[in-house]
Amino acid sequence: MADTLSTSTEQTKKAVKKMKKRQRESSLWWMYLPSVLLVVTFIIYPFLDGIRISFTNWNGFSQTYDYVGLDQYTRMFADPDTWLVVKNTLLYGIGSTILQNIVGLGYALLLNRNLKVRTLTRTIIYLPVIISPLVMGYIWYFFFAFNGGALNDIYLWLGMDPVNALGSPSLNPYIIVFVNTFQFVGVAMIIYLAGLQSISRDYYEAANIDGASTWQKFKTITLPLLMPSITINMVLNIIGGLKLFDVIVALTNGGPGNASQSMSTFMYNLYFSRQDAGYAATQGVLMALIILVISMAALFYFKRKEVEA
């Protein structure tokens, strides 16, 4: 009895092994091996190694360094710059997300109508998306610059004093939000347009028969059926805004001081200008956590709304 039992488990084991082997073969793993290797080498391994480095005092170039436990983390939480930079990053992420979605939806609603100029308008609004954020930053620098900027030309014509908008710590984070929104509002607009076009006209006709007002139609038909587009836009824009780098480099280079620094530019400076690699890695871990938590929270929140709607 015991014998037969053990042989049968043996057999099952063999069968399972065989099945696993067949499954491995039928996975066609060699087809994705190059892509997996690429992503592991350039993203996953460095990301995990960054977590390790965050527990060291490495300066970024010497061969030796020490493990310092949680020192870099306590340092990070005690560093007032950390909180300034986190605050800016959240402003860039959440501020541009709100603006891009409100304005993008407004544009989409307008261009969803059969207007003669709609292709032209759509093209121009989308155009900045294909331009490097660095270049977009420079162009807006021409606009906001203290000396010879286009904005100050208007101020001078009006007989007012020129403003140093980019040099003002209380103003320039908002300018960065504006420029980022301006550049990427076209993406939100296109996604909302696609969403609007997938809503059947029958709903609106039925609502018209019931004598619904424009606002009622928007609230009870358009908005709920647009939820999938809202989810995509929210998550895309939040991730994009929290990662902001190029525009800041072009417009303010994080200054004055650290006033407009985001986590990305702050990390870059810690590593390359201040040779503080261990600490830069620690800031990197915090940034990854913040992006992960906020984008996942947004995803779950809006996905749930989709189900309710």
Binding site: S132, L134, G149
Partner: protein, 276 residues
Amino acid sequence: MDHISTRAKWLLTGLALIITMFHLIPFYILLTTAFKRPGDFSSKWLFPEYFSLENFSLAWEQANLARAFVNTFVITASAAAILIVFGSLAAYALARRQTKLNKYVYMLFVAVMVIPPLTALVPLYQLVVDAGLMNTRFVAVLNNAAAFMPLTIFLYAGFIRSTIPKELEEAAKMDGASTIGVFFRIVFPLLKPITATVLILSSVYIWNDYQFAIFFLQDSSVQTLTVALSSFFGQNTSQLGLVGAASLLASLPMIILFLFLQRFFIEGLAAGSVKG
């Protein structure tokens, strides 16, 4: 969407035109800035009363734009080729064979999309230095391909699942064709629309990349357009006309591509968002 009066239509058209003009402001400023002579500090709202391309010729030479164009083009084209070949292959296996292993691998790619590339900066930099790949176009190609690979696979897999009939491949298999043969001769040609989307999206992304290029391509012989621009800007903060001309030149290829292939840009994004 519903019936509106002619009057309302005119009002909305006017509104659309005002929005269009507002969005043209930066491009207008870019043009007035770039077409002035160096040293002309007149208002950025006005075009000069003469015609001068001096900023363009000076910027072209001083910023080494010719070399930067070649570097950017080589990096963009190579990375896009890698993305299309290996991305479509990977997506095919992951979309067609729903084994446990493949589900995990697919989840891995989706998870990677959330990792902000910059957080890997410190170790990545060290890795590249250790491998002796600092200041090579090769590392920029691989790095850009890696950064855009998850999205590429995501787009291809969605397209294969929703539009390529399995029967086609099964019939070819019966005729004794190998898996790879079936893929390249039968499946890949059918992926053309999504390949166009991947090509366009990845080209724009890689052409405009600054975050990685600034880390790995600091030597002037391998500089891409964005890196050349940023160092040129550093040297000419008071000569914005030069920076404007260089910016315009660097953006021109993508602007032309966009104006001619606009449908692919917009439809690709729209289709991706509705399906995803």
